[in-house]
């Protein structure tokens, strides 16, 4: 219910801004692409269950639009299980240097085959083109094997999109798309990149930041646990003892 209301509010904002954008797009011909998102902050509160962010924008003429959302990058270790003495244990591993914690892509039409792979590669448009560099030099075969496994695992967690989203054009100039962030979305600074593609090449691009952070009670707890971990540990024990004692005493009387 709350989510739907929020979405409706986001749409209303989007519409208002879009009409503004129309006027503006007419005036400012020099800029071939403008876009923005309905919210630049995703607040993970105690009741957070995932959220939608609406991206909208305008282009000055024909062309296709691609939207790429990337979460903060970090090193990741991928491990493969092998059967050793009948038991499946983690055996081989490969470490990747910079892996986006979250990745989603939406386009107004399928780009594979239309746009040169080198272009898609450069802008990391599409799961096949996300940049993941292994920390060590290893055989290309192994890299692609572990890379595919990592993407598959990320998809299972809902952190990488399983399919290319749809960028919808409203008329000739205006477009919009919805990006979904699940409840387990990693925190940090995200980038939302919008590309305008004409004749098989990117002619214009815009990048918008998006912050995902814990807000309120859950943020306080997280900070407490990170910054004053010893005191946090003692607090946890004290709370547990108090709860146990209380229960033991209350139930004795009844």
């Amino acid at each position: 219910m709350k989510g739907r209301l929020r979405l409706r509010a986001a749409c209303a904002v989007a519409c208002a801004l879009l009409s503004g954008l129309c006027l503006w797009a007419g005036l400012a011909r020099a800029q071939s692409l403008v876009a923005d998102i309905s919210s630049h902050l995703i607040a993970i509160t105690t009741g957070f269950t995932g959220t939608d962010v609406v991206l909208f924008g305008a282009v000055d003429g024909p062309g296709d639009v691609a939207v790429v959302v990337q979460g903060p990058e970090g090193p990741v270790t991928v491990r493969r299980k092998d059967r050793v003495a009948g038991v499946w244990i983690n055996n081989d591993k490969l470490e990747f240097d910079k892996v986006p914690s979250f990745y989603g892509v939406a386009t107004s039409m399928p780009l594979e085959g239309v746009v040169a792979p080198a272009v898609l590669q450069r802008h990391e448009i599409g799961l096949d083109h996300v940049r993941m560099l292994p920390e060590m030099r290893v055989a290309a075969e192994k890299v692609s094997e572990f890379r595919a496994a990592l993407i598959r695992n990320k998809q299972r967690l809902g952190l990488y999109g399983t399919e290319v989203g749809q960028v919808l054009f409203l008329g000739q100039r205006l477009f919009r798309t919805t990006i979904y962030f699940p409840a387990n979305v990693p925190t940090g600074l995200y980038t939302v990149s919008v590309f305008l593609i004409r004749n098989g090449d990117v002619v214009s691009a815009q990048t918008t930041p998006l912050s995902v952070s814990k807000i309120g009670f859950s943020a306080d707890i997280f900070d407490f646990a990170q910054r004053r971990s010893m005191l946090y540990g003692l607090t946890g024990i004290a709370l547990a003892v108090a709860a146990g004692w209380l229960a033991g005493t209350v139930f004795r009387r009844s």
């Binding site: 269950t49 491990r79 038991v87 983690n90 496994a149 859950s218 540990g233 003692l234 004692w245 139930f251």
Partner: protein
């Protein structure tokens, strides 16, 4: 009602957690064990990262043990001296266990070790417990309360040095025995996220020869401290204790435990032991199967530790 768990970083239904806590609490009250061996796998199953499940479980067990020990305390069913001896070993085992846990986490083998220790310890203890209790039941049926056999077997365990008198338990045994049992228990607290009651209780009965009435209370008394040490160390060094999760489980757990304790009064000792053994055995078999069956995905990933 969804709740976002700040350390586990997932969103879970609060009622589900209360229910899980209540169910495991009931069983732990019924059988006089902490129930960690059920809760940790369940938490992992609903998506809590294994390390957070183990750390949080240690914290949760502190509360559950306090609530459980109160009832035994009132009936004077706690042998404090024995508990303190076990604690000496338990503290040491816990500290070592948390360190091992951190090392294994860095090596990417923690899940394997958790699974294997579960299978080995749970499997062995439950099989032994099951055969013993079934034998007792059969014997009881055949000849009523016939001879219990020799009350006191003399083994090499009784030849150990540092003989100490434990008045409450009416035992005169080597002090090294409870210390050693406590040490193993402490290791398990840290590595498996369990109180270790399922191991301590039979060890205290069969190895120490303690009166059954004192065993549950004394082991709980000892578990309060080992789980407390483990919870503190996991929070301080691995940052894997989720207070929110622990409290939700506790609320369900302590209430469930009270009902379980009452229900337990209607169970005969060997019946309770047989049921507990079956349950533990089921968990061990499940984990063993998971180790042997080809996993759905051979690959897994973790954010690289130490960055």
């Amino acid at each position: 009602m969804q709740v976002y768990l700040p350390i586990a970083e997932i969103s879970v239904n609060a009622l589900l957690l209360l229910g899980l806590g209540g169910l495991v609490g009931f069983l732990s009250g019924l059988f006089g064990v902490g129930g960690g061996f059920l809760m940790t796998p369940l938490l992992i199953f609903i998506g809590v990262p294994p390390a957070v499940a183990v750390g949080t479980q240690a914290n949760q067990l502190v509360g559950a043990s306090v609530s459980g020990v109160l009832a035994h305390w009132r009936k004077r069913n706690v042998d404090i001296k024995m508990g303190v001896f076990m604690l000496a070993g338990g503290g040491l085992g816990t500290v070592l266990g948390v360190w091992i846990f951190g090392r294994l986490q860095a090596l990417g083998q923690i899940d394997l070790v958790i699974s294997i220790t579960y299978v080995v310890f749970l499997g062995t203890v439950s099989s032994l417990m099951l055969t013993e209790s079934v034998r007792t039941m059969l014997r009881g049926r055949k000849a009523g309360a016939a001879s219990r056999g020799k009350l006191h077997h003399h083994t090499w365990l009784h030849g150990l040095p540092f003989k100490t008198r434990f008045n409450r338990s009416r035992l005169y045994i080597s002090g090294l025995l409870p210390v050693g049992i406590g040490f193993v228990g402490g290791l398990l607290v840290a590595i498996m996220g369990i109180g270790g009651g399922f191991l301590l209780v039979p060890a205290m009965i069969y190895l120490l020869g303690m009166p059954t009435a004192l065993v549950a209370g004394t082991s709980l008394f000892q578990i309060i401290f080992t789980t407390g040490i483990a919870a503190f160390l996991q929070a301080a060094s691995n940052r894997t204790v989720d207070i929110m999760l622990a409290l939700l489980l506790l609320v369900g757990g302590v209430i469930g435990a009270q009902f379980g304790t009452r229900a337990g009064a209607h169970l005969r000792g060997e019946q309770a032991r047989a049921l507990l053994a079956l349950m533990v055995l089921a968990v061990a078999v499940k984990l063993l199967v998971d180790l042997l069956v080809t996993p759905e995905d051979l690959y897994s990933f973790t954010a690289t530790v130490g960055s």
